[in-house]
């Protein structure tokens, strides 16, 4: 049997790499500034308007005997989250705030600056997303790399990918030339569902845009529902990012990072086949 050899294959088009890194920047700053904006009123409601006495989610500081504790309420569930949600800060300098200082831009409470950061990078994010999708449809990235094939979707294949992923065994050879079905699914959900949903729910919170597109209010069930869905979707984006980073780390971190910078990804092929 011939010895396996490393071969660099061209995996990511320049536009995919560029839009990926711009997206990294924009989404990171959107999340951090978004949490600053959330902190201005750390409560979520369903419907058109706020029901102040009964939020669906809230983060508050409450007195418990002599001490102040952070309390997070989700539906009928109430948990103490001192130091993280509701009440946090350096010893002696704790304050009532939704998310802690390290998770917001700026670290201290400043809604005006938070909004500046959020809307600037919202524009960058939207323009970048449009470029990504237009180019991906034109250059075949969407059709060739992202769209699942019939073989991808075969239950046996899906199960096989789940099992090998769970064992952290990733394809190294010819099959690593293409995304597997779990990658395709994750990227499609993120790029075609979650991120556009962030834009849609974000726009619904704009009283100006609502006048042009009142159907958005009906689509998401009201401005406060849109704000809640914006938050839930952002949480799913954070989960995607965590899983994505873990996968990048365990499936050959340098190879992955190189391929997203230079476009070249190393696979192992039989010596006589290159």
């Amino acid at each position: 049997m011939a010895k396996a050899e490393k071969v660099l294959v061209y995996r990511h088009a320049a536009v995919t790499r560029l839009t990926h890194w711009i997206n990294v920047l924009a989404v990171s700053l959107l999340i951090l500034s978004g949490l600053q904006i959330f902190n201005a009123h750390p409560a979520l409601y369903w419907g058109q308007k706020s029901h102040f006495a009964e939020p669906w989610v809230s983060m508050t500081a409450q007195q418990k005997g002599d001490e102040t504790v952070g309390v997070t309420k989700i539906g009928s569930l109430k948990i103490e989250t001192t130091g993280l949600f509701g009440w946090s800060g350096k010893p002696g300098m704790q304050e009532a705030r939704g998310f802690p200082a390290w998770a917001t831009i700026p670290s201290y409470r400043d809604l005006a600056d938070g909004r500046r950061w959020h809307f600037f990078f919202a524009w960058l994010f939207v323009i970048n997303g449009v470029v990504y999708w237009v180019m991906s449809l034109l250059n075949g990235h969407a059709r060739k790399d992202l769209a699942p094939t019939r073989a991808d979707l075969a239950p046996r294949n899906v199960w096989h990918e789940i099992v090998t992923h769970a064992k952290l065994r990733f394809p190294k050879g010819e099959e690593a030339r293409r995304y597997n079905i779990l990658q395709k699914g994750a990227y499609l959900v993120a790029a075609a569902l979650l991120l556009p949903l962030m834009v849609g729910t974000g726009l619904t919170m704009s009283p100006g845009f609502d006048a042009a597109a009142p159907w958005l209010l009906d689509l998401f069930g009201g401005r406060q529902s849109a704000r809640t869905i914006h938050f839930i979707t952002a949480s799913l984006v954070v989960i995607f990012i965590i899983v994505h980073l873990v996968m990048v780390l365990v499936s050959g971190v340098w190879n992955n990072i190189r391929s997203m910078i230079t476009g070249r990804y190393a696979i192992e092929v039989e010596g006589d086949r290159q």
Binding site: F38, K90, D110, D113, R116, F209, A212
Partner: protein
Amino acid sequence: MTTTDRRGWLKVAGASLGGLWLAACDKFTTDPKTLKVLARAEDLTRHAQRLVVDRKALAREYAPADISPDFKPNGTLNPSDEDYAAHLAAGFADYRLVVDGLVERPLALSLADLRAEPSRTQITRHDCVEGWSSIGKWTGARLGPLLDKAGLKKNARYIVFHCADTLEQTLDGSGQYYESLDLIDAYHPQTILAYDMNDRPLPVPHGAPVRLRVERQLGYKHAKYVMRVEAVADYSQIGRGNGGFWEDRGYEWYAGI
């Protein structure tokens, strides 16, 4: 080192590193030059919204059943200013809404006069910049016809609303609340000087006797305790020059988002 020592040390190290990280971030994220660049997005947002939102497009109006039982008052809840207190004590009998500045015929309207002007009633959603929303029913004089009555001069480009309340105590008096609109929003059919809320005279926490409603923008544009409506060519000489109390404190002048 004992475990407690080590833990204490780790805590200090963690806190210092965290502090450094935050300080480094804040130095960058609150840098005035950076923020000035970021603020350019406001113009983009305003132009984009003016492009896609029809000038006369209405904000959604709701059914009586949707009215919030817990409409949240914000900002000044009861002005401590002496002049206002005197008006309030007199039941606003001597209150006169002044319309002046770049107008042909300055007006001074009593509440009875104002109620006789062309009016509009609307049940609309109030979106606070903080993120919450409340729904209320408003009746008031339409601003457009009122401005026509006073007759805007050709060089009038903005309408400034001077309020009775001091929201922040400052030495130079820049803590007085005020707001401004361009003529597109001033002439929007839903832009009214409201004197009734939920079929009752406007309560003090919500801006008695008169507040502005400008339904396609965020709550801070809806100036309360309005005393004077001034037509101006530009607002750079008013307050700290940014067109409103909150605008002077870093918030966007165009609050449609």
